[in-house]
């Protein structure tokens, strides 16, 4: 699997915050989830990749080409969706489209019309009248109408109800059916990633903390519940987070495969990884 996007040593300093040595790669054919709490640096990283924010150091390569030198050509292959939309609200769907479309050399009007129909959007609708869910769908309609190979989305699911979120996941899976595509989306809602993420990248306080295939992550970690009498100095060390009550303990360990059997063990991958994420945040 070739890398679609390679970010290396990205550095950006702000008065109150900085991105430090951010490096990761997005592989083709993968949906990469970019997780982090609010303020961790997700949006800044995305904006830096897209050139909206100017980096202090580091390199960004797409399909092997440097972004700095080939910006216009590369952006033709990127579809973007921002949580805020950044649309001119007083314009209609069609008017806004007419502003964006001419910049893309592969703009496909037929695909766009199709997308509008599918999402039940009317070309004459004013953007300010659209609900959050419709706005996101509009953003996707735009992003998917120029044969993009990489879809970058900044918090596409925030403020959306579960049904719409599920629809979005289906759209992304459909997008991935074609070869050579990639999706990169940031979120702080971990349940979104359960369904479709292949790789998880966690960012915290401007640094990349984790970058792994989702299943490997789940395999390595385990949620252990048991009798607190089983906890001693040795066993305590095996846990990343530990929650003890008078009824028992519950903890996340990243030594599941190697750990010696702790009795009364029960593990559940899905619950695991939510706890792991919460645990990391607390533990960091």
């Amino acid at each position: 699997m070739n890398p679609i996007l390679e970010v290396n040593g990205l550095q950006k300093d702000f008065p109150a915050f900085s991105l430090q040595d951010v490096s990761f790669s997005l592989l083709e054919g993968c949906i990469t989830g970019f997780i982090g709490v609010n303020g961790a640096g997700k949006t800044t990283t995305i904006k830096t990749i897209l050139g909206l924010v100017l980096k202090d150091a580091g390199s960004i390569k797409l399909w092997g080409k440097e972004m700095d030198r080939n910006e216009r050509e590369l952006k033709n292959h990127i579809g973007i969706v921002f949580d805020e939309g950044y649309f001119y609200e007083d314009m209609s769907i069609r008017e806004m489209k007419n502003v964006i479309a001419p910049s893309y050399s592969n703009w496909d009007e037929a695909v766009f019309d199709n997308n509008l129909k599918r999402f039940q959007l009317q070309p004459r609708q004013k953007i300010s009248t659209l609900s959050k869910g419709m706005r996101m769908k509009y953003g996707i309609a735009l992003a998917l109408s120029h044969h993009a190979d990489l879809l970058i989305m900044d918090e596409p699911t925030s403020g959306l109800d579960p049904l719409v979120r599920s629809e979005l996941m289906d759209i992304l899976l459909e997008f991935m059916q074609e070869k050579g595509k990639g999706v990169f989306f940031s979120t702080h809602i971990t349940s979104d990633l359960d369904k479709i993420a292949d790789v998880l990248i966690l960012i915290d306080k401007g640094r990349i903390v984790l970058n792994e295939g989702k299943d490997v992550l789940l395999d390595k970690h385990g949620l252990v519940k048991g009798d607190q009498r089983l906890l001693d100095q040795q066993t305590r060390k095996m846990f990343l987070t530990l929650h003890e009550t008078e009824y028992g303990f519950e903890g996340v360990t990243d030594k599941k495969i190697r750990s010696t059997p702790v009795h009364e063990r029960r593990t559940d991958r899905k619950a695991d990884y939510r706890k792991y994420h919460a645990g990391l945040r607390r533990g960091e």
Partner: protein, 126 residues
């Protein structure tokens, strides 16, 4: 073909999938030349990462069970009797080892175990 993954098993996900596909091939549920789903389709259906299904297919291919033809897809490799026989033996070996270790940990001797096996086979033949 049924692939059922357990979230509470100790076995890594990729291994569970790999073994179940292998078992399906060994039990002739999947025959030589059968088309397998793409890594993406399999990943979507099983709700696992493509990296996992990719690893499964890569390993099955290097072990000779499946073949990928560029542009056409991934197929079950044509019947390789030697490979099949070896793998079948291996599967049984694994089960036998499990049985033996369980017997040993419970204090059941080798001769007792053999007697048990004879009994079971006799019952089965009847």
């Amino acid at each position: 073909m049924n692939i059922i993954i357990s979230n509470v098993s100790d076995q890594p996900l990729y291994q569970q999938i790999k073994e179940q596909i292998k078992a399906a091939i060994l039990h002739a549920e999947l025959k030589g030349g059968d088309l397998l789903p793409s890594i993406r389709a399999l990943a979507n259906d099983l709700h696992v990462s493509v990296l996992t299904t990719k690893r499964v297919y890569d390993e099955l291919e290097s072990e000779g069970f499946i073949i990928t033809r560029a542009g056409k897809g991934t197929f079950v490799a044509p019947e390789n009797l030697e490979l099949l026989r070896e793998s079948k033996r291996h599967l049984v070996e694994v089960k036998l080892t499990e049985a033996w270790e369980t017997a040993r940990s419970l204090g059941i001797s080798k001769s007792e175990l053999y007697a048990m096996m004879d009994l079971l086979f006799e019952e089965d033949e009847n």
